[in-house]
C-alpha cells in the first residue's frame, strides 16, 4: 500500500491498483446490498419449497380447474342441470341476461364468419337475421350443427363450447331471427316455420 498517488477528494482508502490511470477504492460492498441479496436468496429457497414441496400449493392447472368450475357456476347456475335441447333453449330465450351471455359467446366464436349481429358474410357464413335458413328447420338442427359442424365452412364447436354454452348461443341465434339486419347479406336457403310454434 505504499503507492504514491494523487489524494482524491473523497477520503476512502485506495487499493493501489492503477490501470491506464484508473484507480480503485478499497471500499466494502454496501451492507444493504448484502442484506437484500441474502433476502432474495432466502425468498428463492422458501418459494421453491412452497411451490414444489408443499402439499398446500396447487399447480396452475389445478387453479385453472377451480376457476373454471367457479365461473361455470356463476354464469350458468341452474342451467347446468338442464339437458341440451329445445326445452332448454326455450327457457333461455325469455331470459334477458342469459341471452346477453349467448350474445357474448356469439361474439367470441361466431362473428368471424357470421359477422356482427349475425348479418352474414358471403361464402363464409349465412345471414342469421331473416326467416330463411340453409341447413336448419328446427332448434335441434342448430344444436346439431354446433355439435358436428356442417359442410366445409361451419366447424364443429364441441372443442370450443360446452353444452350450456351451446344452448346459450343457440338461444341467441334463435333471437336473431326476424331482426333483419339492414346490412344483412342476401338470403340462402328456404323460409322455415317459426322455431317455437306460435312464435
Amino acid at each position: 500500500m505504499a503507492e504514491q498517488k494523487p489524494v482524491p477528494p473523497v477520503e476512502d482508502d485506495l487499493t493501489g491498483h492503477n490501470y491506464d490511470g484508473i484507480q480503485e477504492y478499497d471500499n466494502p460492498t454496501p451492507s444493504w446490498w448484502h442484506v437484500i441479496f441474502l433476502l432474495t436468496i432466502i425468498f428463492a429457497v422458501l418459494y421453491t419449497f412452497m411451490m414444489h414441496f408443499s402439499p398446500l400449493t396447487r399447480t396452475p392447472h389445478q387453479r385453472l380447474a377451480a376457476v373454471q368450475s367457479r365461473m361455470l357456476e356463476r354464469q350458468f347456475g341452474e342451467l347446468r342441470t338442464m339437458e341440451l335441447g329445445e326445452e332448454m333453449v326455450a327457457a333461455i330465450v325469455v331470459n334477458e341476461p342469459w341471452i346477453a351471455m349467448g350474445a357474448a359467446i356469439f361474439e367470441e366464436r361466431c362473428v368471424l364468419c357470421h359477422a356482427q349481429g349475425g348479418r352474414g358474410m358471403a361464402g363464409l357464413g349465412p345471414n342469421l337475421t331473416n326467416d330463411v335458413y340453409k341447413n336448419v328447420t328446427s332448434v335441434n338442427d342448430i344444436i346439431a350443427i354446433l355439435k358436428d359442424g356442417i359442410g366445409v365452412a361451419m366447424p364443429s364447436q364441441r372443442a370450443n363450447l360446452n353444452d350450456t354454452e351451446m344452448a346459450l348461443v343457440t338461444a341467441f341465434v334463435v333471437s336473431l331471427r326476424g331482426t333483419n339486419h339492414p346490412d344483412g347479406i342476401g338470403p340462402e336457403g328456404v323460409e322455415i316455420p317459426p322455431f317455437f310454434g306460435n312464435d
Binding site: 491498483h17 490501470y19 484507480q23 480503485e24 471500499n27 354464469q75 368471424l112 361464402g123 366445409v152
Partner: protein, 778 residues
C-alpha cells in the same frame, strides 16, 4: 498490496518525438492500434442509424398498416427481425468491439495480438450484418427470436466470434504487460466465452438443402439451401432458445457494456472506481446467476413447472448482482457530479446507468409469475426491452463515442452543444417511447383478462384490444423519431470532428516492461477473509485460468437448467393422437416461419382462465414434439393461433383474410399478404423437408419412400383448394399450388390433434384423381 512491477512509475519523460521509438533499458516499445477502433466506431454509428430507422419503419407499420407497402420484403413480419438483429448485433455489437479494442490494448499495455485477426474480425462481422440484411427481408430465417440468421451465417458468426475475435483477445491478454487484469477485462472474458457457448448450442440444425442434394443430386432452390430444421423440437427447443435469448441479453447487452462502463466512466469522470470488492462479488454473482434465468420467458407455457420456478427465483436473486454494477457506476461519480452538469459524456453515462438500474429491477419483477401473467405477450415487454436498449446500451454507446471520437481523431469534439442537444432530444425520445408503450402493454393486458358481470369476456373480439392502442403507437413513433434525430445529430458531430483531424495521426510509442514470471511467495498472503479478495488478486494474474473459471460459472447453471428436460421423459408426456405435420402442412409451416408470423402471433395458450375462454384448451407439452422450430412467440400483436384449426378452420375465411385482413376484421393492423395467393409452393422440394424431419425421428411411414410426400401434398392441396372454391373462392385448379393453400392447411391443423379419437394416418394417394374424402358441398 505492493506492485513489484509498475511500468507507470518507470515511464520516462516525454521524448522529443513521441512517434519515434527509442531504446529504453528493460522496457519494450509498442503502439496501440487505434485504426481498428476508428473502424468499429464508425460502424457503430452507421449501423445504429440503420437499426433505429428500421425500428421507426416497423413502429409506423403498427400504427398505419399501409406502410407495409403490400410488398413481401417490407412487411412487418420480415422487417422486425431485421430491426432486432441490427440493433443487437450491428449497433451494440460494433459498439462492444470498439470498446474492447480501445480499452483492452490500454488495460494490457499491449497492441492487439494480431492486426490481421483484428481486420478479419471487422470485415467478417460487417459481412455477417450485410448477409442478415440480404436474407431476413427475403424470408430466410430460422424463426427463433434473435437467432433468426440461417445456418451458413451461423457458421460465419462462430468463426468470426471465436476464431478471430476470441483468439485475438485472449492472446492479447496472454501477451499483456500489465500484471493484473482490470474488472473491464473480466466482463469481456465472460462475454466472449458465454456468447460462443450460447450461439453454438442454440444453433444446431440439419440443413434441408443438404438433405435434398444427398437425396436427388440436384442443387435445390436458394430458399431450401438456406433452410434448416433445429435438432431440438417443441418444449426443448423453447427452453434452449430462451436460455439463448435471455443470455444474449445478459452476455451481449449487459456484461460487455458493464466492461465498457468500468473503463470509460472512470476515465471520463477522472475518479477512482467506487469499490474493487463490489466489482469482484457482483461480477461472479452476475455471471453465475444470470445463466439460470432464461425460463422466465416461458412462464405458464407448456414448459415444466420446475424450470419455470428456477427461472423466476434466479431472476430475483439476480437483482443485487445486477445493481452492483449500477452502484459501482453511480458511486464512482462521487465528487464528480459537478462535471455531469457540463459534460455530455457523463450525462449519457448517468442516464444510461440509471436506465440499467431500472431495467434490472423491472426484469426480476417481470419474472415473478403473477406479474408475468399480465405482462407476457403484451407491449410491456417491448417497453422493458427499449428502456434497456435505448437507455442503457444506446446511451452508454453514445457516451463512449463522444469521449472516444475526439481522442481517436486527435482533435477537439466539434460541438459540445450539439452533443448536449443529442442527449436531451434522445432522452425525451426514450421517455415518450417507453411511457406510451408501458401504457399500451398494461392496457391490453388488462383488457385481455377483463370479464363482465355475467362472467363473459368483456372484450371478446381481439381487435377491440388492438385499436385502443393506436394513439399510444403514434406516440411511440414520435419518441423513436426523436431518438433517430439525436443519432443523426451525433453522426454530424462525429463527421465534423473527423474533418478536423490532423493530416497524419500521431502514432504514439508507449513503453512498458515485459511481465516477469510471478513469484507467488512475494505476493501478499490471503488473510482467510474472502472479502479481502487476495485469492481473487491471484486469479487476475491468470487469464486462461480466469477464462476457464468463468466458463465453469456459466456452465453449471446451463447444465442444471437444461439437461433434465432432455433426459427425463416425464417432463414431456406424450399424447397418442399427436402425429407429425402432413407434407403440405409442413411446407405451410415453413411459409409461416418465413413470413415471420411468430412476430405477431403466439401459439401457446396458457392455463389461465381468460386465455382458455378466449382461445380454447390450454396447450400441452406433448402437442409440440414435431415443432421444429417451436413457434410459441413472445408478443400477441394479433391473437394466439395454437387452436386455430379448432376455432377457425374455414379455408375461404383465411384465403380472404390473407388477401385483405381489414375486409374480414375492420380495424385490423395485419398487413395484406396478396403474394401468398399467387406465389407457388415448390412441391418437388417438399419430399426433402419431410425426409429431414424423418431423419430426426418424425414417423412419416411410407411417405419417405420415393416422392410419396409430394403426392400426398398435392392431394391435400387439391382438397383445400376445392374447399375454397366451394365457398365461392377462385377455381381450385388455379390456386391449388399457391402458398396460401399450404399455409391454410397448416392453420387448419393447428391444435386439432388433441381432439382426435384416432391419430392421423398418412396414406399414399393413388397416382392421379385420388379418392376425395371431402364432404358434399353444403
Amino acid at each position: 498490496m505492493s506492485e513489484p512491477n509498475r511500468p507507470d512509475a518507470a515511464r520516462p519523460a516525454v521524448p522529443p518525438d513521441p512517434a519515434t521509438p527509442v531504446s529504453r533499458p528493460g522496457l519494450e516499445a509498442f503502439r496501440y492500434d487505434d485504426a481498428i477502433v476508428r473502424m468499429f466506431a464508425w460502424a457503430t454509428v452507421i449501423w445504429g442509424i440503420v437499426a433505429f430507422l428500421v425500428g421507426l419503419i416497423i413502429a409506423v407499420q403498427l400504427a398505419f398498416p399501409a406502410a407495409n407497402l403490400g410488398l413481401p420484403w417490407t412487411s412487418f413480419g420480415r422487417l422486425r427481425p431485421l430491426h432486432t438483429n441490427a440493433a443487437i448485433f450491428a449497433f451494440a455489437g460494433n459498439a462492444i468491439f470498439a470498446a474492447v479494442y480501445y480499452s483492452t490494448q490500454r488495460l494490457c499495455k499491449a497492441r492487439m495480438w494480431s492486426d490481421r485477426l483484428s481486420r478479419l474480425h471487422f470485415w467478417g462481422w460487417q459481412a455477417i450484418i450485410v448477409s442478415a440484411a440480404l436474407t431476413l427481408p427475403f424470408g430466410i430465417t430460422q424463426g427463433k427470436e434473435y437467432a433468426e440468421l440461417e445456418w451458413p451465417i451461423d457458421i460465419a458468426i462462430a468463426v468470426v466470434w471465436v476464431g478471430f475475435f476470441g483468439v485475438n483477445f485472449l492472446m492479447t491478454l496472454i501477451k499483456r504487460r500489465e500484471r493484473h487484469m482490470y474488472v473491464a477485462l473480466w466482463f469481456y472474458i465472460a462475454t466472449i466465452v458465454t456468447v460462443a457457448m450460447l450461439h453454438v448450442f442454440n444453433n444446431l440444425w440439419i440443413p434441408v438443402g443438404v438433405v435434398h442434394f444427398a437425396r436427388t443430386g440436384e442443387v435445390p432452390s436458394i430458399d431450401l439451401i438456406m433452410k434448416s430444421y433445429p435438432v431440438y423440437a417443441g418444449v426443448q427447443d423453447a427452453l434452449m432458445q430462451w436460455w439463448y435469448g435471455h443470455n444474449a441479453v445478459a452476455f451481449f447487452l449487459t456484461t460487455p457494456f458493464l466492461g465498457l462502463m468500468y473503463y470509460f466512466l472512470p476515465k471520463a469522470a477522472e475518479r477512482p472506481v467506487f469499490s474493487y470488492k463490489l466489482s469482484i462479488i457482483h461480477f461472479w454473482s452476475l455471471v453465475f446467476i444470470y445463466i439460470w434465468a432464461g425460463p422466465h420467458h416461458l412462464h405458464y407455457t407448456a414448459l415444466p413447472q420446475w424450470a419455470s420456478t428456477l427461472g423466476m427465483v434466479f431472476s430475483i436473486m439476480l437483482w443485487m448482482p445486477s445493481w452492483g454494477g449500477m452502484i459501482n457506476g453511480l458511486l464512482t461519480l462521487r465528487g464528480a457530479w459537478h462535471k455531469v452538469a457540463s459534460d455530455p459524456v457523463l450525462k449519457f453515462f448517468v442516464v444510461g446507468i440509471t436506465f440499467y438500474g431500472m431495467a434490472t429491477f423491472e426484469g426480476p419483477m417481470l419474472s415473478v409469475k403473477l406479474v408475468n401473467q399480465l405482462s407476457h405477450y403484451t407491449d410491456w415487454t417491448i417497453a422493458h426491452v427499449h428502456s434497456a436498449a435505448l437507455g442503457w446500451n444506446g446511451f452508454l454507446t453514445f457516451g463512449m463515442l463522444y469521449w472516444m471520437m475526439p481522442r481517436l481523431f486527435q482533435t477537439e469534439l466539434y460541438s459540445k452543444k450539439l452533443a448536449t442537444a443529442h442527449f436531451w432530444i434522445a432522452t425525451v425520445g426514450i421517455a415518450l417511447y417507453v411511457l406510451s408503450i408501458y401504457a399500451a402493454g398494461v392496457t391490453q393486458g388488462l383488457m385481455w383478462r377483463a370479464f363482465d358481470a355475467t362472467g363473459r369476456l368483456q372484450y371478446p373480439s381481439f381487435i377491440e384490444t388492438v385499436v385502443v392502442l393506436l394513439p399510444m403507437y403514434w406516440i411511440r413513433v414520435l419518441g423513436g423519431t426523436l431518438y433517430l434525430i439525436g443519432a443523426l445529430i451525433g453522426l454530424y458531430n462525429f463527421i465534423q470532428t473527423w474533418r478536423n483531424r490532423p493530416e497524419k495521426y500521431e502514432d504514439v510509442v508507449h513503453y512498458a516492461a515485459p511481465l516477469k514470471p510471478v513469484d507467488e511467495s512475494a505476493e501478499p498472503k490471503a488473510k482467510g477473509d474472502i472479502f479481502q479478495a487476495n485469492w481473487h488478486r491471484k486469479w487476475e494474474r491468470l487469464p486462461v485460468f480466469f477464462t476457464v473459471a468463468t466458463l465453469i460459472a456459466v456452465g453449471i447453471g446451463s447444465v442444471i437448467s437444461q439437461v433434465p428436460l432432455f433426459v427425463i421423459k416425464s417432463n414431456i408426456p406424450t399424447i397418442a393422437t399427436v402425429t407429425p405435420y402432413s407434407p403440405l402442412e409442413l411446407a405451410g409451416r415453413d411459409i409461416y416461419i418465413a413470413e415471420g408470423c411468430y412476430n405477431c402471433h403466439s401459439q401457446m395458450i396458457r392455463p389461465l382462465y381468460a386465455e382458455t375462454v378466449r382461445y380454447g384448451e390450454y396447450s400441452k407439452p406433448g402437442e409440440f414434439i414435431y415443432d421444429r422450430p417451436f413457434q410459441w412467440g413472445s408478443r400477441r400483436i394479433g391473437p394466439d393461433l395454437a387452436r386455430e384449426g379448432v376455432t377457425n378452420p374455414n379455408a375461404f375465411w383465411h384465403w380472404q383474410h390473407f388477401e385483405n385482413p381489414t375486409m374480414i376484421t375492420p380495424g385490423s393492423i395485419m398487413p395484406p399478404y396478396p403474394w401468398l395467393l399467387t406465389q407457388e409452393v415448390r412441391f418437388n422440394e417438399i419430399q426433402s423437408r419431410v425426409d429431414a424431419m424423418a431423419m430426426m425421428g418424425a414417423p412419416y411411414g411410407e411417405l419417405i419412400i420415393g416422392d410419396n410426400a409430394v403426392r400426398h401434398a398435392r392431394a391435400q392441396a387439391r382438397r383445400v383448394a376445392k374447399e375454397i372454391e366451394s365457398q365461392g373462392g377462385p377455381p381450385a385448379s388455379d390456386i391449388e399450388r399457391s402458398k396460401a393453400v399450404a399455409l391454410i392447411a397448416y392453420l387448419q391443423r393447428l391444435g386439432t390433434d388433441l381432439y382426435r379419437d384416432e391419430p392421423l394416418r398418412f396414406t399414399v394417394p393413388p397416382e392421379e384423381g385420388e379418392e376425395d374424402p371431402s364432404d358434399a358441398d353444403d
